[in-house]
Amino acid sequence: MTQKSTIPEFTLTIQSGKNRFGEKEGFDCIVIRPGDTLSIVGPTGSGKSALINDIETLAQGDTVTGRYILINGEVPPESFVREPAFKPIALITQNTRCLADLSVEEFLIMHIRARRPGREYLLAETINLANTFTGEEISLKSRMSGLSGGQTRAFMIADALIIGDTPILLLDEIENAGIFKNRVMQSIQGGNKAVVLVTHDPYLALTADRRIVMRYGGVSSIIEPTGQEQDLVEDLALIDERLNKIREKIRLGTAFSSGSSEALMIAVGQGVTYK
């Protein structure tokens, strides 16, 4: 659905800055190409959000970290930084509240105007995609400030994919808002987007092409999987699937009486009175 975009391709370069103690980070530069997926991991407060915010603002040594972000090896043109219409980057922040005093429809129309005007036909597509990410339906008439955390996140991801439609996508802890993260990942991958995601989710972290490890506000190492983690990834996929099934049952009100294997046997909805 977003693969049809004709936006030019970009290579993004992160040049190292300093961690909280003023020490140089554990790399010189990270180059991110179209189609790459990178995960960012690290304890809370270790600077994960600061790193993707540096990318979003195309920092030029003017943030706390002192990093520089280049596009195609050069200082990006000013319009990339200042004009949403030219910005090749979409960022889904950790915020799960939107303060805008607008309906969903008004918000989307204004965002379309900011990004690339004349595409009002994308309204329905955006809402429909958002609704595949969340269990609670969003409508065009909903107030932005009334959306739940998960609805806000689902909406912002759909907005970034369809209205933003950028070659570079940054996601800050999408797994935390109770949205269907696998559906989100499916929608994101496939195109030739470069995706950078901050995550505490083991499966998402390990399936990325590269894994950036943060410590004390700086990058401490970059791990490039050599295939040795493949067994673990497969285990995680199974664990994830089981967890998802159990989670869905709990969400739908199932009560359990014994171990997890039994929890997986009960059909969703069995012995439950909902709706």
Binding site: N53, E56, T57, A59, Q60, D62, T63, V64, E78, V81, R82, P84, A90, L91, I92, T93, N95, C98, L99, A100, D101, L102, F107, M110, H111, R113, A114, R115, M156, D159, A160, I163, G164
Partner: protein, 234 residues
């Protein structure tokens, strides 16, 4: 001398932006600072301590702080000159949204917080329309899409204004503001005047008459159902 006039609603981040300006000014810019507020302000003491620059403060009390700013501006310029300063930074109280403090020869900077509501640019239209630059603060507290929608909302009010988005506490993105300040010429020898026309403000409430209702007043008055104010009296 360069004159920077910074205006915006309370707690919008004016002082945070000014701190970043002072930090990033070239060495020979030698700033002096004047704060104008209604009843309470501490910026003068804070900035003097932090940067060791000359500061002054004026309380406007019963008078509109923007009017007060204009009344003292001439003296303030002379004060800064007498101390051989090259830049005068004025922070307005920004309470009166009908007046604007920007003058000819100055760089007018409107500071407005990204979390102040999508329609807030409409409500403070003169403050933005007569400014040279709109600095949007607190962008670290909202999502990218909201930031872009807020920008669009400013554009609706003033299509061509230079917009600078920042986390003013850290100074992110202010390089564009610093460049603008850098390129701004020193004040010439022409007399400095207000950019906008001051609003009509001559009625008998201005001079202390407390009765409600236009029938009890003279000067510029307005009944509820009349589209424009009218003049009553001789």
């Amino acid at each position: 001398m360069k004159l920077l006039i910074i205006a915006g609603p309370p707690s919008g981040g004016k002082t945070a932006v000014i701190r970043q300006i002072i930090k990033n000014l070239p060495e020979d810019a030698l700033p002096a600072f004047l704060k104008i507020d209604v009843v309470h302000a501490t910026e003068d003491v804070e900035l003097a301590e932090e940067f060791g620059i000359p500061v002054k403060k004026v309380y406007s009390g019963d008078v509109c702080p923007d009017h007060m700013g204009i009344l003292v501006l001439d003296d303030a310029l002379n004060w800064a000159k007498s101390l051989s300063r090259n830049t005068l930074i004025i922070e307005s109280a920004g309470l009166c949204l009908r007046c604007t403090p920007y003058t000819t020869g100055s760089l007018g900077i409107a500071v407005i917080s990204a979390i102040s509501g999508t329609n807030s640019p409409l409500k403070m239209a003169p403050l933005l329309a007569l400014a040279d630059v709109a600095v949007v603060t607190k962008t670290d507290l909202i999502s990218q899409a909201e930031k872009e929608v807020f920008r669009e909302s400013i554009r609706k009010v003033v299509p061509s204004i230079d917009i600078v988005e920042t986390n003013a506490v850290q100074g992110t993105g202010l390089r564009y503001l610093m460049r603008r300040i850098d390129n701004h010429p020193d004040m010439g020898s022409e007399p400095v005047v207000l950019r906008g026309s001051p609003p009509l403000g001559v009625c008998t409430i201005c001079i202390g008459k407390k009765e409600i209702g236009w029938k009890n007043h003279f000067g510029v008055i307005r009944p509820l159902d009349m589209p424009e104010p009218i003049y009553r009296g001789d």
